[in-house]
C-alpha cells in the first residue's frame, strides 16, 4: 500500500514541474569585470570592443528595413568572438517601439523612422529614456517586375495616383496598358509605410489603404514575390530588398532620379530616409553587452552598410550617436 503511495507521489513530483512551466533562468553572477570587453584601439572616439569578452544576451526588435543591417552587424559580432545570443525580430518600427517603450521587453529598437513623441512619453512611464543612434540611410525603392516594359520613371504626383485612386495603369498615363494595378506594400505598422504616406500623401494614410488590389505584408519577401509575379504589379520597400532581388526586380526612377549612393548623399533622391537603432542609458549600463554591441555597431556599420544594400549616413549624424553613447556610459 505504502509502495503505491510512494509511486504516486513520484509520478506527481515528476509531472508538477512540467505543469508549473519551464524552469526559471538563473542569473549567472559574473566574477569578471563587466567592462572587460573594452580593449584595443579606440575607433572614432568610441572604446575598442573585444567581442570575445562580451557576456550575456541581447534582445532587439523592430523595422524590417533595419533588420538585414542589424543581422549583418550581429553576424560580424559573433564572427569576432561574441558567444551570447542576439535576438532580432523583424516586426515593423511601430511594433518594435511598442515592445521597447510599453512592454519594455527589448534592449534595442530598430527603426526606419525617428521615434514619435507619444512613444517617448510611453517610454518615460516605464523609466526608459530612448537614445537615438543613426546607423545608415535607406533609399526607399519603388519596384516593378523585370517583365514590366513601360515603367521607367514616375513623378511624385504619378506615384500618388498609382498607390491610391487609379484603377488601371492607363488611368495614370494613357500610354500605359489598361490593366489593373496590383499593389504590394508594407503593413500599416512598418516605418516604411509611415514614411511613404508622409512623403507621398502628406502624412495621410487613408488614400493608400483605400486603394483596390492592395496586398499588405510586414514580410518584405512576400512583397518581392508578389511583384515578381506580374508585369502589372508595383510595390515599395527598403533598398536592401531590391538589391537582394535585383535580377528579378526593376527599380523605378523618381522624378528622373535613380536611387544611388551619389543621389542619396547629395539629397536629390526624393525617397531617402534615415535608419536608426534606439536604446536607453540604464539598459546600456545594466547590460554592458548592449553597450558593447552598439559601440561595435557604430564603429563598423560603415564597412557593412553597402554590402547589405543601404547607404552610409553622413559622418555628422553618426558622430551624434557616438557622442550620445559616451554620454550614456558616463565617459
Amino acid at each position: 500500500m505504502t509502495k503505491r503511495i510512494i509511486v504516486l507521489l513520484l509520478v506527481v513530483m515528476a509531472v508538477l514541474p512540467v505543469i508549473a512551466g519551464g524552469s526559471k533562468e538563473i542569473a549567472q553572477p559574473s566574477q569578471e569585470n563587466p567592462m572587460a570587453w573594452m580593449e584595443g584601439p579606440s575607433v572614432n572616439g568610441l572604446p575598442g570592443v573585444n567581442p570575445i569578452k562580451v557576456r550575456g544576451n541581447i534582445i532587439s526588435a523592430g523595422s524590417s528595413t533595419v533588420y538585414p543591417l542589424s543581422e549583418r552587424m550581429a553576424e560580424r559580432f559573433k564572427e569576432e568572438g561574441y558567444s551570447g545570443n542576439i535576438t532580432i525580430d523583424s516586426i515593423g518600427s511601430g511594433a518594435g517601439f511598442e515592445r521597447f517603450t510599453v512592454a519594455g521587453e527589448t534592449d534595442i529598437a530598430n527603426a526606419s523612422r525617428p521615434i514619435k513623441s507619444a512613444e517617448i512619453e510611453a517610454a518615460k512611464k516605464i523609466g526608459r529614456n530612448p537614445i537615438e543612434f543613426r546607423v545608415g540611410t535607406d533609399a526607399l525603392a519603388v519596384t516593378v517586375s523585370k517583365e514590366n516594359t513601360f515603367l521607367e520613371n514616375v513623378t511624385m504626383k504619378q506615384l500618388g495616383q498609382i498607390f491610391s485612386t487609379a484603377e488601371l495603369w492607363s488611368d495614370v498615363d494613357p500610354s500605359w496598358p489598361s490593366q489593373p494595378i496590383q499593389r504590394f506594400i508594407p503593413g500599416t505598422d512598418s516605418g516604411t509605410f509611415d514614411y511613404f504616406a508622409e512623403e507621398v500623401f502628406d502624412k495621410q494614410f487613408e488614400p493608400l489603404l483605400a486603394a483596390s488590389n492592395l496586398q499588405l505584408s510586414e514580410d518584405d519577401n512576400i512583397l518581392v514575390q508578389g511583384i515578381e509575379g506580374s508585369p502589372y504589379a508595383i510595390g515599395f520597400f527598403g533598398y536592401a530588398y531590391y538589391a537582394a532581388n535585383a535580377e528579378s526586380l526593376h527599380i523605378v526612377a523618381i522624378e528622373g532620379v535613380q536611387a544611388s549612393a551619389v543621389n542619396v548623399d547629395n539629397g536629390t533622391y526624393p525617397l531617402a530616409r534615415p535608419l536608426f537603432i534606439y536604446s536607453d542609458a540604464t539598459i546600456m549600463n545594466e547590460k554592458p553587452q548592449v553597450a558593447a554591441f552598439i559601440d561595435f555597431y557604430l564603429s563598423y556599420v560603415d564597412e557593412e552598410v553597402i554590402g547589405v544594400g543601404y547607404f552610409p549616413a553622413n559622418e555628422e549624424a553618426i558622430e551624434r550617436g557616438r557622442t550620445a553613447w559616451l554620454k550614456a556610459m558616463g565617459m
Binding site: 500500500m1 503505491r4 503511495i5 504516486l8 506527481v12 526588435a61 525580430d89 516586426i91 515593423g92 511601430g94 511594433a95 511598442e98 510599453v102 496590383q182 503593413g187 500599416t188 505598422d189 494614410f205 487613408e206 489603404l209 483605400a210 483596390s212 488590389n213 492592395l214 496586398q215 499588405l216 505584408s217 510586414e218 512576400i222 514575390q225 508578389g226 515578381e228 509575379g229 506580374s230 504589379a233
Partner: protein
Amino acid sequence: MTTISRKARITSRIPETIMFLFALISIVITVGIAVILIRESYLFFNDPAVNLWGFLTGKEWQPMIDKFGFLPLLNATLTTSVIAMSLGIPVGLSVAIYLSEYATDRTRAILKPVLEVLAGIPTIVYGYFALTFMTPLLRSLFGDGVVEIYNTASAGLVIGILVLPMIATMAEDAIGAVPKELRLAAYALGGTKLETTFKVVIPAALSGLSATFLLALSRAIGETMVVALAAGAGPNLTANPFDAAETITGYIVRISGGDVSYNSVDYNSIFALGLVLFVITFTLNLISRKISNRFHQEYE
C-alpha cells in the same frame, strides 16, 4: 470496516481525483478562450466607429481607415473552403470506398501508411507547396495574366489535399461500420458489387459520412498557414478564385504577427474575427454531432 480497507479506498481515490483535475483543466481552458474572445470582441464592438450590422454586411475591410465590413474576409474563407471541399470530398470518399470495399490487404497495407504520412505533413509545408507548386501549375494551365501570384484557388486546392487523409480515414470508419449482413443481403438479392456499394452501403453510412464532411469543412475554414502564405495579404471581395484575397485566418495571422500595436482597433478586430471563426466551427461541429446521433441507424 477496517482501517486497511479505508486506506485502500483513499489510495484508489487519489488517481481518480488527479485525472478529474486534468479533465477539469481542459474545460477551464475552453471556457477561458471563449471568455477572452468575447471580452476582447466587446472592446472592438464598443468602439464608436464599429457597429454589428456594418460588421456583418459591410463590403470593405480596412480597420485602419474605419472600414469594418468583414464580408471580403468571409468570402475568401468560403471560397478556399468550398474549393477545398470540392477536391477533398470526392477524392477522400473514393479513397475510403476503395479501401473498405475493394482494396486487397496488400494495397491497403501500402495505401494506409501513405495517407498517414500525408496527414503528418506540417501545414507550413503545405503552404509552400501551394506557393511554389500549385500556383505555378495553375498559372501554366490558365496563363500568367489570369492567375495572380497569390490566389484563393491554389490555397483551396492544397487545403483539399490537406483534409483528404482526414476525410478518407473517417469515411472509411463510417463505411466499415455498416454491418456485413446488409452487404450479404444485397448480394443475395442479386446486386452487383457496385450496386451494393452505392445503393446499400453508402446510404447506410450517410450519417457518419455527413459528420465527416462537416468536420473536414470546419478544419478547412480554420486552416491558417496555407492561406497566410498562398491566398493573399489584402482583403478583397471577389468571386474570382484566381484573384488574391485574404481570409479571416490570414488576416488574424498578419495582424498578430506584429503588424499593429496593442489597444488599437485593428488589434481588437482580430478577436472579433476569432469569435466569428469560433462560432462557425463550433456550430459546424455541433451539427455534425447532431447528425451522427440522430441519423445513426442501429442494425441488430
